[in-house]
Symmetry: C2
Subunit: 125 residues, 2 copies
DNA sequence: ATACTATCTGGAGTGAACTCTAAGTCAAGT
DNA sequence: ACTTGACTTAGAGTTCACTCCAGATAGTAT
């Protein structure tokens, strides 16, 4: 798969795909004899994982660490496990902040809806 | 309340408090005769709202727009309602991305846990 | 009055995550 | 062989959200 195809399939710019590889957020991608990227299944699985993690807001730095550990082989499995558990915790925390904010938004929305319906704003903020 | 007190109470740096005010993410804060910030209850409510929204990842730009609308008075209530609904939608989307990533993390974590316990890694990624 | 600490402003600097540019190489069509 | 378009790299530029700094002014203690 060419970089163009991967870019279109996963909606990640070619620049970003090259950037991810350059900084080590995904391992080096398979190349043709002349040096052009030719994404194989494993390369694509890394791309997809990277996209998923980034979309949830996990820092690039963390993925770089995870990739580095993975490339070092099975000895790093406990370290990888710990890294994943930490990231899980931080996502749960982020989720609870979002929930808090959603509650607040819902409250404001309901007040504004009443205001729009009745023309009366009970109080201002 | 002085900027120092607000900074400590809400764990936001003084620089950030001034920055929020400067860019319009909160309305102008009450000042003493000599120009020093003296946060009143409403000022503090804005600070708290700003902190809540930012902690969920809502862009500064959005809060600026919301504050601007609020300062324009009740005519902008429908616009504010729409803005809040849009932000609610984007938070829900963000939450579902986090859930997706959490599922993936949980799957990886369970596999790594088995690997650590048994010393056998079923497959690599 | 003199220190000393807190706060003020405007503007420059920082780190994260891209995003773009330039100059060169590769591949496909005519 | 030549043109056109896709791909390559290294490195510079951009955006966002702060964060720091310098120089000035304000408030407090002795």
């Amino acid at each position: 798969m060419t970089i163009k195809e991967v870019s279109e399939k996963y909606d990640i710019s070619q620049d970003t795909l090259r950037y991810y590889e350059r900084v080590g957020m995904i391992p080096p991608v398979t190349r043709t004899a002349s040096g052009i990227r030719d994404y194989q299944e494993d390369d694509i699985r890394w791309v997809e994982l990277a996209k998923c993690m980034r979309s949830a807001g996990l820092p690039v730095e963390i993925m770089i660490e995870y990739v580095k550990l993975t490339l070092e082989g099975y000895i790093t499995i406990p370290a990888r496990l710990q890294l994943l558990k930490e990231q899980k915790a931080s996502l749960l925390e982020q989720k609870s902040k979002i929930d808090e904010t959603l509650e607040r938004l819902n409250y404001k929305i309901s007040r504004y809806e009443i205001a729009v319906e009745t023309g009366i704003l009970t109080w201002e903020d």
